[in-house]
Amino acid sequence: MSFLLSCPNCGPRDVNEFAYAGEVTSRPAERPSVRELATYVHFRRNVAGVQQEWWFHRFGCETWFRAERDTRTNAVLATEAAHAEPDGQAAPAEAAVPDVPAV
């Protein structure tokens, strides 16, 4: 794809410079049941609309940031450098960083 993402450090770049890591999810605060754990690990909202998501600027500054993107249009409404949430409210997804071909 060739839509542009605005990296908080590097500015607008082709999406192929980044690794996508899914929706921002919530890690359980305490030990989850099997079902709760499965929900956290496997289930995403997959909205047709605006979602909060993780991106990693793989070919640039190598930092993580969050983007607000409309999945119907790929319009990126906002990007924001990741900030710490020590209580772990937002958690990395299960998937490893996918293999994206560079531009």
Binding site: S2, A19, Y40, W54, A82, A84, P92
Partner: protein
């Protein structure tokens, strides 16, 4: 035969160019296209149609239609009407059995024609089932157009260039030039690209903006990306604003015989007569819905073609109209029963804005009923349309009902789509069969799916469709315009084709030593140096050295380093003393194994983390990701390439090392799982006493620019000890003898540390670590499969990937297997059902279709008590 010279003509009569058509030399003038030169040489049939093999001649002379596709210097389907002549070029016809003028497959038109209505192949050759493959083979023989040389290599040079423009103007006609000038006046950085097909107007080179021609925009993609085909260079433009001035495309009329050779669009007349001083024929009829046809009549007269009749559809509405031909060439036209002999028939159904680029960019396309054309609407931001591309001045044949003309004679076919040989009857039949949406009809009839990409058939087919379904064109919708705007060669898209590859600092040394190289992710590594068994033996008996520079290497530093690593890994690190090393496995919150490596503590707050060869970037990103959330005070640096790494292993490795360093390498001074910093042969090294290959050994990590020096020094100074470089294959055997796991080979995306027999490193008493909950659940429910060692009862080496079979069904799999000289057996690792995971359990492994017995082994096959490793 050329007309007398004119000031307008594009040919240079003082310079001749010779090329070859079907092996025969053809003389042309500089400035000719292959098409104009062939026409000048008397050629009228330029191609044979896709399905019926009907003769086809020049139609548009603008690079739009499929009628002049030929093989040029081996490249299939070149539009010769716009391809400049070059000395020595070899041109051949395509899709012909015999010659263009006598194509044996034309029998399809005579015999097969009536027998091959739209969709016929869906209804035939269903029974008997065995007949279908033969029929299909025949179909595949006659399908397609051009041919390629099956054994050709890449031979052309294509480059890719990244460009930027504030304003990119596509199309150098009057509107495009105006737009470019205006934007340049506003101080914008403007680039104008033009296809150079508007051969009649020389594009002015102007100050104020850059002009690139001939160059064709491939599409307008997301993010303002407009790739441009500039011949042998792909220009990838990033534009802030794109102005589309792509003009309009002349449309054909639908009547029987509308595909005969000699039927021309006005642009063909204009170019043949004016640019190349050619007379299209002797006697012409013009049927037109706009002024273009009238202008063509004028061009014809000036070229000495008599114009027998002009039918202006704006004032005359004939009830009947048909062209009749012989041998595929137009001979007469009858209008309302009045037949006129002619060898040229100019048809002009108006012009349709060339909106494809705009539609691909996201514009909506709407039917304008008053003008009978589709116009672009709701353009996306930063994209605009000017001139006839926007609909200005463009006019279709609104008043002319599509395909309303029935010939008086039978047999004349009216083509809606000349690329795919689709007639009006085909479209009508499709509708009658229930293909009652335009997209379904397109898929069924294949209208618009041919080489013209709908340029000449989209509008007529929709108008015909509307008429037949008694619907308004505006309510029918359109078929989707798909990129690219014009066919673009794979070679140009591919560019130079370099794929990134990683090489260690010793790559060239390995090659010099005759190593067979293999891939490990992006890395190239030596498989072996030619004698696997000897390399294994060297490690067991003397000393060997392997390049392990591909290991990922991360420095994790900071006051929170311990907390950070303890939360990422199931292991504990708080009790790891500086100068000590621990094996560690990284997992996900689903409990799955992600990567493994060793973690050495350099100081209170500094850790040296190694990863698998393919894991460095992933693990680095993983670390950074979690810390983006946790916010620990640590920094992570990827020093993979900064450090080369060698594993010097074997009973004589200590003695060799002692010659090169002042470090105390005695068993007491430098024990198993210790880390030390010292100079080796003068190079500062981090030395790790670890033993993946199972013998006494040292990993030396040191600045990569000294890799060749240290490698050479080791080989030189170790020569008398019999040192041998060893590759990955011997390493695999050595580690398998120790039942050491390779993450990613012995484990997969579903494996967890407990089932993989690594429970000893999982510290459930820690508050939290990534994957803890999942592993707790795994512990509670018990294993579903287990990773175990096995030895074959009879010495056969099973295939890696081979199956453990229970009751005739797959029940587990072999992940590693080798013959071991040291053990004297075929050994391996496998995932087996828990019930078969005990020492001495008998399992059966499928080898070459037979079941071979094996025994489960839970301890290392070689040196089970690690005496050699810890020596």
């Amino acid at each position: 035969m050329r007309l007398p010279p004119s000031p307008e003509e594009r040919i240079d009569r003082s310079r001749t160019v010779t090329f070859f058509f079907e092996g025969e030399p053809i003389e042309a003038y500089a400035g000719d296209t292959i098409g104009s030169a062939l026409f000048a040489a008397g050629r009228r049939v330029f191609s044979r149609s896709f399905k019926y093999h009907r003769p086809r001649g020049l139609l548009c002379c603008s690079g739009h239609c499929p009628n002049c596709l030929m093989q040029v210097d081996g490249a299939p389907s070149v539009r010769v009407c716009t391809a400049p002549v070059r000395e020595g070029t070899r041109v051949r016809s395509q899709n012909v059995l015999g010659s263009l003028d006598r194509d044996l497959l034309a029998v399809v038109d005579k015999v097969g024609g009536p027998f091959t209505p739209v969709g016929f192949y869906y209804r035939t050759m269903i029974r008997p089932r065995r007949a279908w493959p033969y029929y299909e083979r025949f179909l595949r023989r006659v399908a397609g157009l051009g041919t390629i040389d099956k054994h050709a290599r890449r031979s052309s040079r294509f480059d890719t260039e990244h460009r930027r423009a504030e304003v990119l103007v596509i199309g150098g006609g009057p509107s495009g030039l105006d737009a470019a000038r205006a934007a340049a006046r506003d101080g914008r950085r403007v680039v104008l690209v033009d296809e150079g097909l508007a051969l009649d107007a020389q594009l002015p080179r102007e100050d104020g903006f850059e002009t690139i021609a001939p160059a064709r925009a491939i599409g307008i993609y997301e993010g303002g990306l407009v790739p441009v085909d500039a011949g042998d260079v792909l220009l990838r433009f990033r534009a802030e604003r794109v102005v589309v001035a792509s003009g309009a495309i002349e449309q054909p009329l639908l009547f029987p015989g509308n595909d005969l050779v000699g039927v021309l669009l006005p642009s063909a007349v204009r170019r043949l007569t004016r640019l190349w001083s050619l007379r299209p024929g002797e006697r012409a009829v013009v049927i037109t819905a706009d002024d273009r046809g009238l202008a063509a009549a004028e061009d014809l007269r000036r070229a000495g073609t008599s114009v027998a009749r002009v039918v202006d559809l704006r004032t005359t509405q004939p009830a009947q109209m048909a062209a009749r031909g012989s041998h595929g060439r137009v001979r007469s036209v009858s209008v309302d029963g009045d037949s006129v002999d002619c060898d040229v028939l100019v048809m002009s159904g108006g012009s349709q804005p060339a909106y494809s680029l705009l539609a691909q960019a996201g514009a909506r396309v709407e039917y304008d009923g008053t003008r009978g054309i589709f116009v672009p609407r709701d353009l996306p931001p930063h994209v605009e349309a000017v001139g006839s591309a926007a609909g200005e001045g463009a006019r279709g044949a609104a008043a002319v009902p599509a395909a309303s003309y029935r010939g008086t004679e039978s047999g004349g076919r009216c083509f809606v789509c000349i690329c795919e040989d689709v007639t009006d009857k085909d479209v009508k039949r499709a509708i009658a069969e229930g293909f009652d949406s335009i997209e379904l009809a397109k898929r069924y009839t294949t209208v618009t799916m041919g080489p013209c990409q709908g340029r000449l058939c989209h509008l007529p087919s929709i108008r015909l469709y509307a008429r037949e379904t008694r619907a308004e064109e505006a309510t029918i919708g359109t078929t989707t315009a798909r990129p690219p705007w014009a066919p673009v060669r794979l070679g140009l898209l591919a560019g130079r084709g370099h794929e990134p590859a990683k090489r260690t600092s010793l790559h060239h040394r390995h090659k010099e030593l005759g190593a067979q190289m293999m891939w490990t992710g992006e890395w190239r590594r030596p498989h072996s140096y030619g004698d696997v068994a000897a390399e294994v033996r060297a490690v067991h008996e003397g000393v060997g050295v392997i390049d392990v520079s591909t290991l990922g290497k991360l420095l994790v530093s900071g006051p929170d380093a311990v907390s950070f690593l303890e939360r990422l890994y199931p292991n504990r690190f708080g009790d790891l003393k500086p100068g000590r090393i621990r094996y560690a496995v990284l997992g996900t919150d689903a409990g799955r194994i992600m990567d493994d490596g060793t973690i050495g503590r350099l100081s209170e707050r500094d850790f040296y983390v190694t990863t698998t060869s393919t894991g460095a970037e992933t693990v680095l990103a993983w670390f950074e990701w979690w810390n983006a959330v946790w916010g620990y005070d640590v920094s992570v640096d990827n020093v993979t390439g900064a450090l080369a790494a060698l594993n010097v292993a074997g009973p004589r490795s200590r003695a060799l090392l002692a010659r090169l360093t002042e470090l105390d390498v005695s068993p007491d001074g430098f024990g198993y799982l210790d880390a030390r910093e010292a100079r080796v042969a003068g190079v500062p090294c981090l030395l790790l006493r670890i033993g993946f290959v199972g013998e006494l050994g040292y990993e030396l990590h040191f600045p990569s620019p000294y890799a060749e020096y240290l490698w050479d020094t080791l080989l030189e100074r170790g020569a008398d000890a019999g040192i041998r470089p060893f590759g990955l294959e011997p390493q695999r055997i050595l580690r398998l003898e120790k039942a050491h796991v390779i993450v990613g080979q012995d484990t997969d995306s579903e494996s967890n540390a407990l089932d993989a027999n690594m429970s000893w490193l999982v510290k459930f008493d820690k508050d939290d670590f990534v994957g803890k909950w999942a592993l707790e659940h795994v512990r509670e429910r018990g294993p579903r499969e287990r990773l175990v060692g096995f030895e074959m009862a009879n010495g056969t080496v099973p295939p890696e990937g081979g199956q453990i079979v229970v009751d005739g069904l797959p029940a587990g799999r072999v992940t590693s297997a080798r013959w071991s000289d040291a053990v004297g057996k075929a050994i391996g690792l496998a995932w087996v059902p828990p019930a078969l995971a005990d020492e001495d359990s008998r399992i059966e492994i499928r080898v070459d279709g037979r079941l071979e017995p094996a025994l489960v082994r839970l301890r290392p096959f070689f040196d089970p008590d690690d005496e050699r490793l810890r020596a």
